[in-house]
Amino acid sequence: MLMQLTLSGASQGAIYALVALSLTVVYRSTTVVNFGHGDLVMSGAFVAYVLVVGLGLAFLPAAVIAVVAMFGLGVCFSRGLIRPIRGGPHIGFALMSIALGYTLRGIARTVWGREVLPMPRVFDIEPIFLGDVVLTGDALFTIATVAVLLGLFFAMLTFTDIGKMVQAVYQSERGARLVGINVSRFHDLSWGTGAALGAVGGILIAPVSFLHPDLGASFLIKGFAAMTLGGFGSLGGAVLGGVVLGLAEQYAGAYIDTALIDITAYLLIILVLLVRPRGLFGRKAVVKV
């Protein structure tokens, strides 16, 4: 049972990791907590659904188009709605992100309001039984896709000039400006990247789960929990936090009580904030006077 739970938890955790990472990308570069992020996850899934079911595209090109579209939406959101309020109070950013989320949800409700929609399976293969352990195409595809994406993402951060630019802005926006980096454009791209990564999460969960306009709400909480566990602002921590959360849900549900699955994320947030507020990889805030 442990192996099966671990596999299932890793698959769920991979999605949470993506959602947490995408939240962190935006938070780290703009210090804005995107409360509308769950709805970006949902929107990515719905765009893919329209392309696959409505227009008959194959899953892969549909997924790519959906991710690009969500990247564009993220950039437009930043340029059109975040930049104009940059000089205002910080709460304005959070409220704007909430407004975006509810707008997207409202649009989805208007179009698909009364249906729970099935997304065609990506790898609809017969489960493989290895003793008591069942390997499914969906789980393997999710884990592999997320692993490849994360590998590429962190390789880009570590080994490329773009990565150095990102590190520079993360360390000091003022310093980055001084060396000629367009920080405003960097923020736009961060919003776009966050939306695109979130969309990947939505697209991956859609065939396993079902689509409805409120799909993103639970993923937002999971993303926050993973961020908290990994440490606010830590990209690697967000990924690890997501995986740990996925595993914790499965273990708690199977070994303690299934009622705990849904509240594991909240319990983790409470526990981490009490015991280690900076999370596993967060940096302790040091104020020099």
């Binding site: 099966q4 739970l5 099935p118 065609p120 396993v208 079902f210 799909l215 299934t258 009622a259 849904d262």
Partner: protein, 388 residues
């Protein structure tokens, strides 16, 4: 002393809801009926019940109405959310000033509305939500026009035990009032017959994976599973059940799901072939007994996709019209309530059990059939292997 008139006026204003006008919402040619349902949100597929009800009103209206009065629906969205539902009810009662209320999917919302509506005193026929506490204890103005959770829960357990050699029964449910309204009476019935559930597991709304629950069941391997889950979670649970090699265990679901749409969502018959649901109707959804109701809905809502929920509120509409006819042209709220109390053994032509209301019992529908796939086709059953 100068303040006395003001005080009396304020008192009268406060007491107004309880002294609601007997003919509020009534004109010579219209009876306004507040129809609340979850027209948006992730439980919005349940609002098909209210669509079916309003199509029934349209049919009655096309035939001339009742004593020359048209049934005019004033639609309000609850979103299956308690706060939103309370706001909707207050708007209908105090702002729109409807004559009566009918509808309401989502038990949690309906339970929360009960005190408000009981105090307001206008007739309310609950046409979809199943929780027993909506209509028990009896409130003079609140009538239940569908099988309640207690009736359904017991019918579910009765069907489960009608399968020979059923000894081990596991239960999986949401942790909300709706799910408990099915699973508690089902468990009570099982215990009365000497069967203790092997597991009572939770799967919350919005969960996208049921691995932990299914693996727990795999250890016990029950003979039958009772699932009090909403549509999306039912499909996820059935998928995972098959995935982990337990697809041959029969699963008994609630009236909150239906076979056709569960099949559509899951995508293959193999996954749902052992799934059974409470089926409160006289025939299969595509059977001749239901055809006239399907035609009626499509006549007034041509684009409406029909599901199991589409017909559930119609029976209570039939009962309402019978009571309105009996109340006569000089209609008042009290007269309507008195006539609803006299509805007895009413064959609605849509529900599998008749409606009977008395002054002491407003839970009008006491039984339900079951539907399952037989030879790949949805079939109405009264017990395991016995067609209805």
């Amino acid at each position: 002393m100068k303040r006395l008139p003001t005080f009396l006026a304020a008192t009268a204003l406060l007491a107004a809801p309880a002294l609601a006008d007997e003919t509020t919402g009534l004109t010579d040619d219209a009876i306004t009926i507040g129809v609340m349902g979850p027209f948006s949100g992730n439980a919005s597929s349940y609002s098909k019940a209210e669509i079916g009800l309003m199509a029934f009103y349209d049919m009655i209206n096309e035939a001339g109405g009742v004593h020359g009065r048209k049934l005019v629906a004033v639609q309000e969205d609850t979103g299956c959310d308690t706060a939103k539902g309370l706001a909707a009810a207050k708007k209908l009662i105090f702002q729109d000033e409807v004559f009566m209320l009918q509808g309401n999917s989502c038990s949690g919302v309906a339970v929360a509305l009960r005190p408000e509506i009981e105090e307001a005193g206008l007739p309310w026929i609950v046409a979809h939500a199943v929780s027993d506490t909506i209509s028990d204890p009896v409130a003079a103005n609140i009538f239940h026009g569908v099988p309640t959770g207690n009736a359904n829960g017991r019918a579910m357990a009765e069907f489960v035990l009608s399968r020979p050699d059923t000894k081990k029964v596991a239960i999986i449910e949401h942790s909300n009032d709706w799910a408990h309204s099915y699973s508690n009476p089902a468990q009570a019935y099982l215990k009365e017959h000497g069967v203790e559930p092997t597991e009572v597991l939770t799967m919350e709304r919005g969960q996208t994976d049921a691995t932990a629950q299914v693996l727990k069941m795999r250890a016990d391997r029950p003979d039958f599973i009772i699932a009090a889950l909403y549509e999306a979670e039912t499909a996820i649970f059935l998928r995972d059940l098959k995935k982990y090699g337990l697809g041959d265990i029969p699963v008994m679901g609630t009236a909150g799901t239906d076979l056709e749409n569960t099949l559509k969502r899951v995508g293959d018959l193999e996954t749902v072939k052992n799934y059974y649901v409470i089926h409160p109707y006289v025939d299969n959804l595509d059977g001749p007994g239901m055809q006239k109701w399907a035609d009626m809905i499509h006549k007034y809502y041509p684009d409406e996709e029909l599901t199991n929920f589409s017909y559930i509120a119609i029976g209570s509409g039939v009962a309402l019209v019978k009571a309105l006819e009996a109340a006569g042209p000089d209609l008042t709220r009290s007269k309507l309530i008195a006539e609803l109390d006299k509805i007895s053994d009413l064959d609605t032509g849509v529900l599998s059990a008749p409606i009977t209301w008395t002054a002491d019992d407003h839970q009008g529908v006491k039984g339900s059939a079951v539907s399952g796939f037989v030879d790949g086709k949805p079939t109405v059953l009264k017990a395991w292997g016995q067609p209805y």
